[in-house]
Symmetry: C2
Subunit: 393 residues, 2 copies
């Protein structure tokens, strides 16, 4: 038999990170490559208690099919938290529970994108979004990131060349760069987008993980119904439960629900019930405080080790939250070549290439600090510095 796959599969690469992670199977390797939360932060006992409670009290319902939209009390909880944390007034019916926020990307692509539709992404951009949206064969246009957010001039330029349906971005502690858009930058971006038909998709998996500075308003504050929000419990409870959500106005939500139902009927109801029970029986803000204290130490350690060991020609970001920082080698040096040298010295990271739409041999790299001890961070950065010196000197 001769199998003809769909054209759309020609656009989607096997995950580069998946290949990278093969190097990290070797226990000798110190890996800054993954994007994993620190399992020490998982509320295992509390999840146990929550599970017992929901199964004891309502086991037959907890294990049954449920609604496509998701468990209403969980959606109400999310709506209330938007009000409390961001001052956003959201109706629970504008929230759909998804299998992690990654599924939100798939559903948004499904309902909005025809082949060759223009879309905007940050450069560098989140790899999972590039992968998810590639399935729908859009034309990607990118806008560079500066230290305080989107490069406004580039945004204005690109909007002269295309008519994007959506702009996907991670304004808080961006993946991969770790940068956060300033309030002023957000307002400028919003003012420019107001004159277009582009929906701003604000993905915010790390927003609660701030350890320095003050929160900045959501893009929805400026854009109202022209923003779609993606959220996730993966970084504040646990990723294994695969719980995220989309928040969108009703006209969009109606289509999202149809697409979600066609995709998998509904999100795991057992997990939804356990997560909700966990949230109402525990002080999540206190739990988040513990996580950010842990991550701040790890971030501080990586930043200071970089200052201590990296050659000064190498620049890197100093994130105020989240899980990643981003380093830039001097022009002309390839982080893929660095990867080969570094892996021989038993240290791994993600080279920049997969975070760009059409660039190869880039001089950037992503470093994760949340899933290493301080000892490993010191030793790993030391090894990486040696590899960098081997490459550039």
């Amino acid at each position: 038999m001769n199998i003809q796959f769909a054209d759309r599969m020609g656009n989607v690469q096997k995950s580069f990170i998946r290949e990278i992670l093969k190097v990290t199977v070797n226990p000798q390797v110190i890996s800054f490559a993954g994007g994993l939360p620190n399992p020490a932060s998982f509320p295992v006992e509390e999840v146990q208690k929550a599970t017992q409670k929901v199964l004891n009290d309502d086991g037959n319902n907890v294990l049954q099919y449920s609604t496509t939209e998701g468990y209403l009390p969980l959606r109400q909880y999310i709506a209330q938290r938007y009000l409390k944390k961001k001052g956003l007034i959201i109706d629970p019916d504008e929230i759909l529970i998804t299998n992690g926020s990654q599924q939100g990307l798939d559903l948004i692509g499904k309902i909005l994108l025809n082949k060759n539709d223009d879309i905007l992404l940050e450069e560098p951009g989140y790899l999972g979004a590039i992968q998810a949206l590639s399935i729908f064969e859009p034309k990607f246009h990118t806008v560079p990131l500066l230290d305080d957010g989107i490069d406004i001039n580039s945004l204005e330029e690109v909007l002269k060349r295309c008519t994007p349906k959506l702009f996907y971005a991670v304004p808080n502690f961006q993946n991969p760069s770790g940068i956060t858009y300033s309030a002023q930058n957000r307002e400028s971006v919003a003012n420019i987008l107001k004159n277009t038909n582009a929906i701003f998709v604000e993905d915010d998996p790390y927003g609660e993980l701030r350890f320095i500075g003050e929160d900045v308003p959501s893009m929805k504050t400026y854009l109202g119904d022209n923003a779609i929000l993606l959220g996730s419990f993966s970084k504040i409870i646990a990723p294994g439960m695969r719980l995220g959500w989309i928040c969108a106005k009703r006209e969009i939500m109606e289509k999202l629900i149809i697409a979600k139902q066609a995709s998998d009927l509904h999100t795991n109801y057992f997990s939804q019930r356990v997560a909700y029970q966990y949230l109402i029986d525990n002080d999540i803000d206190n739990h988040i405080k513990k996580i950010t204290e842990l991550y701040k130490k790890q971030r501080d350690c990586m930043v200071s080790m970089i200052e201590k060991y990296f050659p000064e020609e190498v620049k890197s970001t100093k994130p105020e939250g989240g899980m990643f920082l981003w380093a830039t080698l001097p022009q002309g040096f390839s982080s893929l070549e660095l990867f080969d040298i570094a892996s021989k010295q038993n240290v791994a990271f993600v080279p920049g290439d997969p975070f760009y739409i059409n660039k190869k041999g880039t001089n950037t790299l992503r470093l994760n600090y949340t899933n290493s001890t301080e000892d490993k961070i010191e030793e790993g950065i030391k090894r990486l510095s040696e590899a960098i010196i081997g490459l550039i000197k």
Copy 2:
């Protein structure tokens, strides 16, 4: 803002059954409309124990991100069960864990279907498959079902008119009709398909729920690698855990894994671990025996009440397993009209229309017996008979 949705969304209807189920919110209504397993069959205590065990023993891993393919021991378990129950030799790497088998349909559509590709479905066909595959804008062609399976003459005819990429079917206790393909019918279908490039997608959510007769070989027995199998734990453990799987040869599996990763990274790992622990700590065959004993009583009750009360012009199937039976009114009468009459008499079912690609005003209807007590089945069939008599006499 003027939102332009993707063309593909024009092909997908809001779920008809969702609308139907609104009638059943009224507690006076006896509903044969849903497709729910009986919650009395859910192993709540055993799931509790399994959850405690996996969280106690390995909580930090159970709550972490995991692999796209799914938990290897669970895939090994499924492979071993295929060998034991169906004599099929499957490599665990040919199995991908999905969010229920519904997601399998989405992934298969994603990797195989271009717009206007021909595909084959049974008539009547599974509504969830029509919905999931519609997203990819194929040309649907249908082949009628007879009492023992596919209408072979019609299959030969339709293959003269089109070149299908896949043939989606539910050969065991089909949804909606309740019929099962005979071994001879399967062999005939396979012999015809061998000369084509059509992949046979065998969806088998109910296959383990046989209460009369003997198992019939899987289509994969005849078609080998040209069959994709979809399976589910929803009917033998619990649907709230959203665990299903796809079994496909490596060439196809490689693409499925890419599509799965783009869609939602991986299936809920917490549920996968709990389900696996449940499976190894309990006698699943004994548990399935309890379910089928329960469902057999309900099925027997519905069949005998139909014999007792329905006018003899109404024909209905007598399923050997599964969750549904299918009734046919005399020609010219519409089951949608019957639905209106019946809902006034506080009994609900699913009219046939949504199970057909392009037919309206059909004279068929689906009845679910697994989620009612015998008392309710008797009273509901009595009410439905009165509605039928009101319509046809």
